[in-house]
Symmetry: C2
Subunit: 594 residues, 2 copies
């Protein structure tokens, strides 16, 4: 057996900022070598950030990425770090003749091994995901090389992210080639309970590859995606050896006992990948002899967060990164006294600090007394900035010129509020946060250009029942302080905002239950229809009330259009609205009348 | 040689309305048999409409589509039309074991041959496009069968749309199998000058297949896509035999002289498709003996529209279908007296009739006298509905409560106008049309929730220089009447709206040229940057002013976010905003500072 100390750099890159990402590569490699690491593994497309979407189709961007990988190798050597091999993801291109339907310039979701001032060997993702949030057939051509580099007597293979999720391909070839360790840069977005799926998958693939597997995952918010880290190292038998924390940057260092490589020099050979393709294995040698035996450090295995803490952390990180990475200093939101805006304000306080959160209280003639009082109570408990702007006069000035009744009049109130927030945003540079939850967005209880006006929607993918659960959970953490929790001395959310009956307060004595079923009934139905894509007959067979099925499906299908114009927000389920569900606007399919 | 009269049904299906599409199938087949056709070919996914997007991932939808194809065969037979074979596109599914990354349920972009009350044979698209507006790896698995049916002694092969655009696959196999005619259902969206590309492509593929080729294309607006029809039939040598008109439904009937099939019965055999795959040819026999010789009808070759007429027709059709297919009866828009809203109103009048167009004139304190006069002149010339709602008092009522200056104050005016239009839309059910052009959207000269508020953006993909060109062209057609031109007695657009200097009129004496270069300079640069994806260095090398390149690129990249929240609009270039350009919002890549 041979020893190796491996460091996984679970980091938060900035999409498009190749210079900053390169600086971070140098800094984290220095930290890793300072801890005695023999090999450092960064995440998928770390130098460019992931996902870079259509930037990848721009020539100048791909050339800059290739140049950045080469420059990074040089800078590592200049910094005296050239002896430690570094695996890092970036975008490269295949040398293929242009073909109809192939992405322009044939980009690759690549990984490079940087060593002694140069790119020693390269690989690229073989399995391209093109489902859910992934569009990779649009962006990349398939990689067909598996590099295996010998480091201190251990044969180390490199695969990329999706290569773990599909059968055949690099994992099968790594087994065939007798690799002693498989390292995998990833950018695998968070979804509720994905951490359990991920460990089971990585364990299974390690057993298939017949070798230890090191899985380095990106962390951070990137538009609607939240990357949760949760990097892991498992043994060849699939046992968990080390794990990094969720939602935070971490350098995960672990000592591994690995099989010594059999003799055999560099070269290339082809292997049937078991998926209808052939992969070329490329062997290179960095150092043939095992290290002198040394005392291993005890491994770190971070505990998993429970489901509620996990979701809350994802939302906080998403807001923090959306604000910072887009160059905002502060946020503004409307605070109604209800639970949705209360939770959103609390997430914002936890994300960027209450001193950078600005609330506007915009009572109308239909607002209850408790609304303003509950909103002010939250302002006091959290110490956020607040101002009151009553909307009655502005609404009246519109109604003098145009006659509006019913829904049109309700929407007008919501739009006046949206305009006030946007005006203050434009004047002072705050990012407007919207406060709609997934249950109301799904059913269309939201006003286009009204409460949906804004730049980021923190609870867009949170069903109403989960809104309440998160609020209660957050209040129960009172006094605790963490990267995701501000140490407020009192529960940050007024109990009355949690307990009172929900109402939009757009007409006298309005209640959500006037027009919607109880939220526990509605949310179960939405989950089956939106997440599980069940049809009408299946929903009824699953026990949902037929009349409710018909009504809710109609609401959801008709709300699709509004959703398209809703701002992005963090994703915690497989099917948030927006890029996850692509339905035609002009469409006469009705699930209820097939 | 053998004769065959073929009818291509160039039709406008409704996405999701399987019942209406089936009714249309029966009706058009009756018309075709009435004209003596021996074979009728409908378009790609005609029964479901194209594109159905994520509906295809819903089990109930795919099952309904399969049932619709079978039911259609039965209904044709009941209607006495069962003897005439009908090729029609729909969605089927492959019987494949579920696999990670494969679309749920393995849907196929299929075509069925309906004959004597049953589905006689099926095929499915082999080449799946996944670029530009196409996401087909998300939706479909690849078809691997090429049916060849013998009809009156002629061997007819069936391929689907993209199969023509890529090398290898069904075209190569049709040649190998000795087909006498290749029929191809399509849903190929319009882009400027695509008609010329299409004819050249179809001619080349006919020569490769060594047989005549009949190309039936969808027509109609579907969200951002406009299908232009332009169905064509070419001979085995690639000569144009018949062509349908652009942008209108048409039954294209043509008599063909085709080679008689060599003897040989039904059965299947495998052919190397020349693209790394194997395709199974499936031969079936409907009727072995050639028809008795008959006198052919003279073929129809519709003339192509010139480029300006083509774009104008596309915009009119897009608006008409968006309105009708989404169930609206009327549209509303703000009329400023400027050229953008004047052209948009004219397109709307041509699309749905001036009696269903509602204009709101919303002068502010910064509006010039000529603005209101020019707008009223257009109202008079076209006879559209109009009302005047001055915005000064409403703006003042906002400014009493919140202090706004500069851009924030300019945006407020645009938003007050947006709210007035949305209020009237909610009250009366009109669809709001926005009036922004591509040059100003690209550079961010547009207010989120202001002039960008609305449901459809007719000139979203039209650069400002083309706006002027279309306006002059439309005025020059005065007196003409066609499906795309209302026979107005006077030029519908006031000359002053065309000739005056453009201004947003959001502050005193504002001119577009205060902040933007001349539009001919800007539009050339936008075309190179947006459509051609040139990087900064390339743009400068192409002769654009370096300072302007830096400034315009910055504007375009920063405007990306607004564009995401802009309503859909018809697409006339490869890269309209929205689904055609998918850029991260959170992104620090700046083309100007690589």
């Amino acid at each position: 057996m041979a020893q190796l100390r491996i460091a996984l750099a679970q980091t938060n890159p900035a999409v498009g900022d190749l210079a900053a990402n390169t600086d971070k590569l140098i800094e984290w490699t220095r930290r890793a070598t300072g801890r005695g690491a023999h090999l450092v593994v960064f995440t998928e497309m770390f130098l460019t950030g992931y996902p870079a979407e259509d930037l990848v189709l721009r020539n100048s961007f791909v050339e800059a990425s290739i140049a950045a990988a080469e420059a990074a190798a040089g800078r590592l050597a200049e910094a005296g770090l050239g002896e430690t091999p570094v695996v890092v993801g970036y975008v490269d291109r295949a040398r293929l003749a242009p073909r109809v339907g192939q992405p322009k310039g044939a980009p690759l979701d690549a990984a490079a091994l940087l060593h002694r001032g140069r790119v020693a060997v390269k690989t690229a993702k073989h399995h391209l995901p093109n489902y859910g949030v992934f569009d990779e057939y649009r962006y990349f051509v398939r990689g067909d090389r598996l590099p295996i580099f010998r480091l201190h007597g251990v044969d180390v293979a490199v695969a990329v992210c999706e290569d773990l999720w599909q059968d055949g391909g690099p994992v099968a070839v790594a087994a065939e080639a007798g690799a002693g360790l498989l390292v995998v840069p990833n950018a695998s977005p968070y979804e509720r309970e994905k951490d359990d799926v991920r460990l089971a998958l990585v364990s299974r693939r390690a057993r298939e590859a017949g070798c230890a597997l090191a899985y380095a995952n990106q962390v951070g918010g990137q538009d609607e995606l939240v990357f949760d880290g949760d990097s892991i190292i498992v043994s060849a038998s699939g046992e968990l050896v080390a794990r990094a924390a969720q939602f935070t940057e971490e350098l995960l260092v672990a000592d591994l006992e690995l099989p010594e490589a059999s003799p055999g020099g560099p070269g290339t050979f082809e292997v049937d990948a078991g998926d209808g393709t052939v992969i070329t294995v490329e062997r290179v040698e960095l150092s043939a002899r095992p290290l002198e035996p040394y005392e291993p450090e005890p491994p770190v295995i971070a505990a998993h967060l429970d489901d509620t803490a996990e979701v809350y952390s994802a939302l906080v990180l998403a807001v923090r990164d959306y604000v910072a990475k887009n160059g905002f200093q502060s946020v503004i939101l409307g605070l109604s006294g209800g639970i949705d805006s209360a939770l959103t304000a609390t997430i914002a306080s936890d994300a960027i600090g209450p001193e950078r959160v600005h609330a506007v209280l915009m009572p109308s003639v239909y607002s209850s007394e408790h609304s303003l009082a509950d909103a002010q109570e939250l302002v006091n408990r959290q110490g956020i900035n607040a101002q009151i702007v009553p909307i009655a006069d502005i609404v009246t000035s519109f109604e003098k010129d145009i006659h509006l009744t019913g829904l049109a009049a309700e929407n007008l109130q919501a739009r006046v509020r949206g305009m006030i927030l946007m005006g203050l945003s434009n004047q002072h540079g705050h990012l407007v946060l919207t406060t709609g939850n997934k249950s109301e967005l799904a059913t269309g209880y939201s006003t286009l250009y009204g409460d949906s006006a804004g730049g980021f929607a923190p609870i867009k993918d949170v069903l109403k029942t989960l809104v309440w659960k998160l609020a209660r959970w957050r209040n129960a953490q009172v006094g605790l302080s963490s990267p995701f929790l501000r140490g407020f001395p009192r529960p940050p959310i007024p109990e009355n905002s949690i307990e009172k009956e929900p109402s939009a307060e757009l007409r006298p004595d309005q209640r959500d239950t006037d027009s919607l079923p109880a939220y526990d009934v509605l949310d179960r139905l939405l989950d089956d229809y939106v997440e599980k894509d069940m049809g009408s007959a299946e929903l009824i067979a699953a026990g949902h009330d037929p009349a409710l099925v018909a009504r809710v499906i109609r609401l959801v299908d008709l709300a699709e259009y509004k959703r398209r114009q809703y701002p992005p927000g963090p994703k915690i389920t497989p099917k948030n609205f927006g890029r996850d569900r692509r339905l035609p606007i002009t469409n006469r399919w009705r699930e209820t009348t097939p």
